[in-house]
């Protein structure tokens, strides 16, 4: 093992068979950590954190809304990154990763949009405004749905992967637009208060539930991604076996 170069080791890890055995071993512990993080996050979010002095109890919406929005964007970056690796190195596992990330990312985008709406009504007095942040998030949802639809329409996995990867990469332009939308344009949406120059401006008592929920959502995303990648690898094995049977 010590004689192997780093790239050889990476390739060994990226082998689907190796991936199946490795992911099979870490899934259980990852699910346990996810559950622990989410339960402790919920405890602080609902029971052990103060209401905001301006927003009152609606601040508790933040502990679901903000992690969902982060995961919506992280999911897209995983999808676009894996798509780029798939296009350049033609590695099947990268395509599997990109395809598996899409439905999870879409679900979190949907959650971010609806919870934002439920927060907007009491705080802004409206369910929806067509401003830059909200509109670019809606475009993100449509990009996810378009990506999923493209996979569903092309029968042959290698061809579907290439087409979908191009769509994912073009759509990646939207991610920095979402992030900077609150800076570049006038909006009702508040600016970043955690990942900003000069550190977070949010109170520690609210940062604890926010960070626990964000970590829990992230672990949930990664765990689900592994499960879906395993299912996708099996789906391709089924396809191979069916094609082999048709040949006989």
């Amino acid at each position: 093992m010590s004689t192997l170069s780093t790239s050889q080791r990476l390739q060994a890890f990226a082998n689907p068979t190796r991936f199946m055995s490795l992911s099979g071993r870490i899934l259980g512990p990852m699910a346990a950590v996810t559950a622990l993080l989410l339960l402790s996050g919920l405890y602080f979010a609902l029971l052990d954190s103060p209401p905001d002095y301006q927003q009152g109890e609606t601040v508790r919406i933040m502990y679901v809304h903000v992690p969902s929005a982060w995961l919506a964007m992280m999911g897209y970056m995983i999808m676009a990154g894996a798509s780029a690796i798939g296009l350049i190195f033609r590695h099947p596992l990268a395509d599997v990763c990109a395809k598996s990330a899409a439905p999870i990312g879409a679900a979190f985008t949907f959650l971010a949009l609806v919870t934002g709406s439920l927060w907007g009504k009491p705080m802004w007095g409206t369910w929806w405004v067509w401003d830059a942040r909200l509109t670019s998030m809606l475009i993100l949802l449509f990009l996810y749905l378009g990506y999923i639809a493209l996979w569903a329409t092309i029968e042959e996995p290698a061809r579907a992967a290439r087409g979908a990867a191009v769509l994912a990469l073009v759509g990646a332009l939207n991610v920095p637009i979402i992030h900077y939308s609150v800076v570049w344009w006038n909006t009702l949406h508040q600016p970043a208060s955690v990942f900003r120059m000069g550190g977070p401006t949010i109170a520690a008592s609210m940062l604890t539930p926010l960070m626990l929920m964000a970590l829990g959502f992230t672990m949930l995303f990664v765990t689900l991604l592994l499960v879906r990648m395993r299912a996708e690898i099996l789906r391709r094995r089924v396809r191979g076996l069916l094609l082999a049977k048709a040949d006989m």
Binding site: E57, A107, L111, W119, L220, R228
Partner: protein
């Protein structure tokens, strides 16, 4: 307790957020696991139908990897 559910008068906004989050998470986990089990079953069905020779060949190939 009643105060907790009242959410300072914002119950109609706060609880749907947590309810929907639960629904989305349970839906994602459930759908992912069901699909995984389905594919697992299909693979084992097809491999057992493929006959002894193909299965032996597949096993040799897998241990090569």
């Amino acid at each position: 307790m009643a105060e907790f559910f009242f959410m300072g008068g914002y119950a109609a906004y706060v609880w749907p957020v947590y309810g929907l989050a639960l629904l989305v998470v349970v839906g994602l986990v459930g759908q992912s696991l069901l699909d995984y089990r389905r594919q697992l079953r299909l693979v084992s069905e097809l491999e057992s139908k493929a006959g002894g020779r193909a299965r032996r060949a597949a096993r040799t190939h897998r241990s090569d990897a």
